[in-house]
């Protein structure tokens, strides 16, 4: 009798599991998508909102200086070609990563800046997560502050975005979890003391209080993978860019907040 009950319970379990799979396959409806900003404490919100208190602004100001600094064997500054960033860079971060025809794949904003440094300025490219690259990226991205995230309608990006989506849903690491299991299915719940956000990359590079510094989206992705006890992808790896591409598409329509502040 106990065995029969066990079998029944197992069958019910399998049925419930199938239903759960169907339910959890749903992505967050566009109308419910929200920036992590919405869940910040009052003090952190105030820190992001006030440019004189936002620690990410130090990086933006450094980036503004670099924008005007001549560099490389071409002895050119970004400003020599692009002029006033407030006009020329407005909306750019909102549509990155974008397809780079010469590489045959998408590049993110950091990579675009590095390509420009190497090819236009004939300068030494900056290392990922270097102070300089984060500063220039933050300065360029801030010119899109308030602009809705608007991934380009470019069919060449589709397979890469799909690859990023596959990564988002792939279970990985010793804990064997997919990104979606926290950020689609359980956002607003608490992982130990931490509120799980929807994971929209609205404000990168961000100043993260936990880091006590500004950092890139790829740094954040690597942190999450480490948390899953998975081997993170290297900075600049195609997998990380594909993931950025998917995340930006997933966050389409939300306003850019760079430089955002997060816990």
């Amino acid at each position: 009798m106990k065995a029969a009950r066990g079998t029944q319970r197992l069958a019910l379990g399998v049925l419930l599991a199938a239903l759960a799979t169907l339910c959890s396959a749903a992505e967050i409806p566009l109308s419910e998508r929200r920036s992590g900003y919405a869940d910040l404490g009052r003090e952190t919100k105030a820190m992001q909102d006030d440019d004189t208190a936002n620690p990410g602004m130090l990086s933006v100001l450094e980036g503004e200086e670099l924008w005007k600094t001549k560099s490389g064997t071409e002895v050119k500054a970004c400003a020599d070609c692009h002029g006033d960033a407030r006009a020329s860079m407005k909306g750019v971060a909102a549509r990155y990563p974008a397809f780079d025809a010469s590489r045959g794949r998408p590049v993110n904003l950091e990579q675009r800046i590095n390509i420009c440094q190497a090819e236009r300025q004939q300068a030494k490219p900056s290392a990922y997560e270097s102070k300089e690259l984060l500063a220039l990226t933050a300065f360029v991205a801030m010119q899109s502050r308030g602009e809705p995230i608007a991934p380009p309608d470019d069919a060449r990006l589709t397979p890469f975005r799909e690859a990023g989506r596959q990564l988002f849903f792939r279970r990985q690491g010793q804990l064997n979890l997919g990104c979606n299991q926290c950020h689609d299915d359980n956002w607003s719940k608490r992982l130990a003391g931490n509120l799980i956000p929807q994971a929209h990359p609205t404000g990168y590079p961000i100043y993260r209080l936990e880091w006590q510094s500004i950092g890139s989206l790829q740094r954040r992705l690597r942190n999450c993978m480490t948390g899953l006890r998975a081997q993170p992808y290297e900075f600049g790896a195609p997998e990380n860019v594909d993931m950025e591409l998917y995340l930006m598409w997933r966050a389409r329509g939300l306003p850019v907040e760079t430089p955002a502040v997060r816990p």
Binding site: A17, G173, D185, A192, A230
Partner: protein, 140 residues
Amino acid sequence: MSLATVQPLATHAEDALHPYQVVGDAIPASLTGKPGDPARGRAIVANRQNTCLLCHSGPFPEERHQGNLSPSLQGAGARWTAAELRLRMVDASRLNPATIMPSYYQVEGLTRVAGAWRGKPILSAEQIEDVVSYLSTLRD
């Protein structure tokens, strides 16, 4: 007990893992052949490194940060037998493939496990027995 409810013997090639037998929705026998220690089990659950309290809460007044993704561990020993708890620790995905509960005693079928963790289960057989014996004491 009918044979139909006896699942095939789970096979694990890794030397590190003890073989176990799933019967219905439970693993009746201790993974180590010995009972666990509930006091050690409590310490294992309360230690954040072991990940339990990331998702679950429980009767741990000293732990300020406990998760709410998953049911409270309070009363787990009244809801499940030790054998049922053991399968839910070892491989909850066998009961619900979509569960977020990791399989704490599994090293195969995983993707991109970081070097330090590769080839190791999240908890050892001894630790799982300790946790099972502790959870069995949570009766109200």
